[in-house]
């Protein structure tokens, strides 16, 4: 279990990890987009479970969540969609979710489902290190990693979080919420250095990254790059017909971060 991400995600150069809100604009589209992302070279796909009040999201993902929920992307429907998807692809998947939908479903039920669908990581933006025990043991029983986040403000916490990390580490590039940024000002090399001193767990940087130049720059300080809001913006524009644009974008980003 411990090497799942190392062996399946971070094994083809720098990993490119696109995010997608499940059910935006529809659940059928999610299947279509994930398959296109895989085709374009995505190494791991982060499936966002829409939440009514996503406190770590900027306006772009907030809106996608609201629309998805309005169109009925409830957790049971999302699992049904993933069962269909799993018949078509083995691509590594992880979840991004606020804790309450998991709590309400029951942690045991949720992680059991993850196991059945071979979803090996869950990112919980409102569960910091101190509250990880809430889900850690149940997740472990089903071979699912709780992905730890490290933020620009983590400072002396980086060491502890890194030492106790599993799966991969999500490095939050900037203060604030998710969303496209022109510049990343955090000293990522310093964060990277402290992480490397304390763990062999792989890392991926996200929050605010959108273009290939920026992605290439930040990828120097991590094993992978995560992009969320920019992909949702592509879907905002092209809706159900976004697959070709998504394909082009993912291919371009994967190539950019792996060009010497």
């Amino acid at each position: 279990m411990n090497n799942y991400f190392k062996d399946n995600v971070f094994n083809k150069g720098k990993a490119f990890i696109p995010f997608i809100t499940a059910g935006y604009p529809t659940l059928e589209d999610t299947i279509k987009f994930v398959l296109k992302m895989e085709e374009a070279g995505a190494d791991l796909i982060e499936i966002g479970i829409p939440f009514s009040d996503p406190i770590a999201e900027g306006p772009v993902i907030q809106n996608a969540s609201t629309v998805a929920l309005k169109r009925g992307a409830s957790l049971d429907k999302i699992f049904e969609m993933l069962e269909v998807l799993r018949q078509k692809t083995k691509i590594p998947l992880c979840f991004m979710s606020y804790i309450n939908p998991l709590f309400k479903m029951g942690y045991d039920n949720f992680f059991k489902k993850c196991d059945e669908l071979n979803i090996r990581g869950v990112i919980l933006p409102d569960v910091p290190f101190e509250e990880k025990k809430e889900v850690e043991d149940v997740a472990k029983n089903y071979n699912v990693h709780i992905i730890s986040l490290i933020a620009p403000t983590s400072n002396e916490r980086i060491k502890t979080i890194a030492q106790k990390s599993s799966g991969f580490i999500y490095v939050v590039s900037s203060l604030g919420t998710t969303g496209v940024r022109e510049k990343i000002t955090t000293d990522l090399s310093k964060i990277d250095e402290i992480i490397r001193q304390n763990t062999i767990t792989k890392t991926a940087i996200g929050f605010g990254i959108n273009n290939p130049v920026q992605a290439k720059e930040v990828s120097k300080h991590a094993d992978g790059v995560i992009v969320g809001s920019y992909i949702i913006k592509i879907i905002d524009k092209y809706q159900s017909d976004a697959q070709d644009e998504i394909y082009k974008y993912v291919k371009e980003m994967k190539s950019a971060i792996n060009t010497p």
Binding site: I55, P59, N100, P101, K104, E130, T153, S154
Partner: protein
């Protein structure tokens, strides 16, 4: 780190970006709450600026009319800015100053906490931004202008239902953007630890005063203390120093809107279930998939889908009881108190008044009850008039 648990409730369910800051806040609070300079400065402000202690008023006409136990009103409405909110805000704004912050932000529903925060910011020379749902901005236009008059920036929150919960979410988001120079002054006993503790401590002055005053005038403890609950700050303040007095009933009145059997209410204890949201494990109005439900109340201040974790705990241990009060009942109490005692109270507080009206006739004449009159009702006059079919606009 105590982690701030109340039984199963509470905790710190927030983004990693904020963790060091809430730890810093807890450390600063634990230090300054015992610091003589901080304590005397806060004490001075409470007395000379906020008008404490607030009066414990014997509602003679109401007592006579209802024909049961004696009814006392703890007049938080007479505080500067017109509600109990100032008690907490002065504490937190002063703490922000001592922590070296330049800027404070806050959420507001009815506008009472926003006005109190803007006031403290003006007094203590701090920059201030208040987040308010766009629906509430419409409902409470006068308070919006008040905040602006006090020099605060009021930001309209258009996401979600455009009410208090969305204002809290947006204030949290803003805090993750400006964590270095900004303190989030949370208005209720909710959110991540240490807020439920800090706000409760600053509001506990209500029951500290009420307890000694009632013993002085009645020479006995009250039969019950009653307060309205949204997030639950005035109720926690009213309950706190009576928790150890096992004979004193603690009663919270939550907003039942059009009724708890409709989908238009904000009764998180009566109709909610355990969940994790806005930094805390507590009781929330939510659907079966854990999505937070839109809530409704005539009162913008009670229009919140959750309740502070210590209330959830007091409920689970049965130390406190919580009753739902409908819009129409609150409006009836609002009018009753105006006509009977000459006091126009906040529509939030009217929820507690209504329950007092219901139970007082059945309690022995020698007993007494205290109702926390959390705020004054000037802000509600126009909307109550409209509720009654009179087209008055502010």
């Amino acid at each position: 780190m105590t982690n701030g648990k109340y039984g199963d409730f509470g905790g710190q369910y927030i983004p990693e970006t904020l963790m060091n800051e809430v730890i810093n806040l807890e450390k600063s609070y634990e230090f300054y709450k015992n610091d003589e300079k901080f304590k005397s400065e806060l004490d001075f402000l409470l007395k000379n600026y906020a008008n404490r202690p607030s009066i414990l008023y014997f509602a003679k006409n109401m007592t006579k009319d209802l024909g049961g136990c004696k009814i006392y009103l703890k007049r938080e409405d007479l505080n500067h800015t017109g509600s109990h909110k100032i008690n907490n805000v002065l504490g937190q704004a002063l703490l922000a100053k001592y922590m070296g912050k330049k800027r404070i932000i806050a959420e507001t529903g009815a506008g009472q906490h926003g006005v109190a925060t803007a006031t403290a910011a003006a007094l203590l020379n701090l920059e201030c931004e208040v987040f308010m749902g766009e629906e509430d901005i419409k409902r409470q236009a006068l308070n919006v202008y008040r905040m602006e008059l006090l020099g605060a920036k009021v930001t309209s929150v258009k996401t979600g239902t455009g009410t208090l919960k969305d204002a809290v979410s947006e204030a949290m988001r803003e805090w993750t953007r400006r964590v270095d120079d900004t303190l989030y002054v949370l208005g209720s006993v909710m959110g991540p630890h240490p807020y439920p503790m800090i706000v409760r401590d600053f509001q506990s002055v209500i029951s500290k005063e009420a307890r000694s005053e009632i013993l002085k005038v009645e020479n006995r403890l009250p039969y019950a203390v009653i307060a309205c609950v949204g997030g639950g700050s005035n109720a926690m303040g009213m309950f706190y120093n009576f928790i150890q007095d096992k004979t004193v009933k603690l009663i919270g009145c939550e907003a039942a809107g059009l009724g708890v059997d409709t989908d238009k209410h904000a009764s998180s204890i009566t109709k909610g279930s355990i969940g994790i949201f806005h930094g805390m494990k507590s009781l929330f109005c939510q659907d079966k998939f854990g999505q937070i439900a839109p809530v409704y109340s005539i009162s913008a201040g009670l229009d919140y889908p959750g309740i502070g974790p210590e209330h959830a705990y007091l409920h689970s241990t049965k130390r406190a009881t919580y009753v739902p009060i409908k819009d129409e009942q609150a409006v009836l109490a609002f009018e009753y108190l105006a006509k009977t005692e000459g006091i126009i109270c906040a529509i939030e507080s009217a929820h507690a008044i209504y329950h007092a009206m219901e139970i007082a006739p059945h309690i022995d004449k020698n007993e007494n009850i205290i109702v926390c009159l959390s705020g004054r009702g000037d802000k509600d006059v126009a909307s109550i008039a409209r509720y009654k079919g009179r087209n008055i606009y502010e």
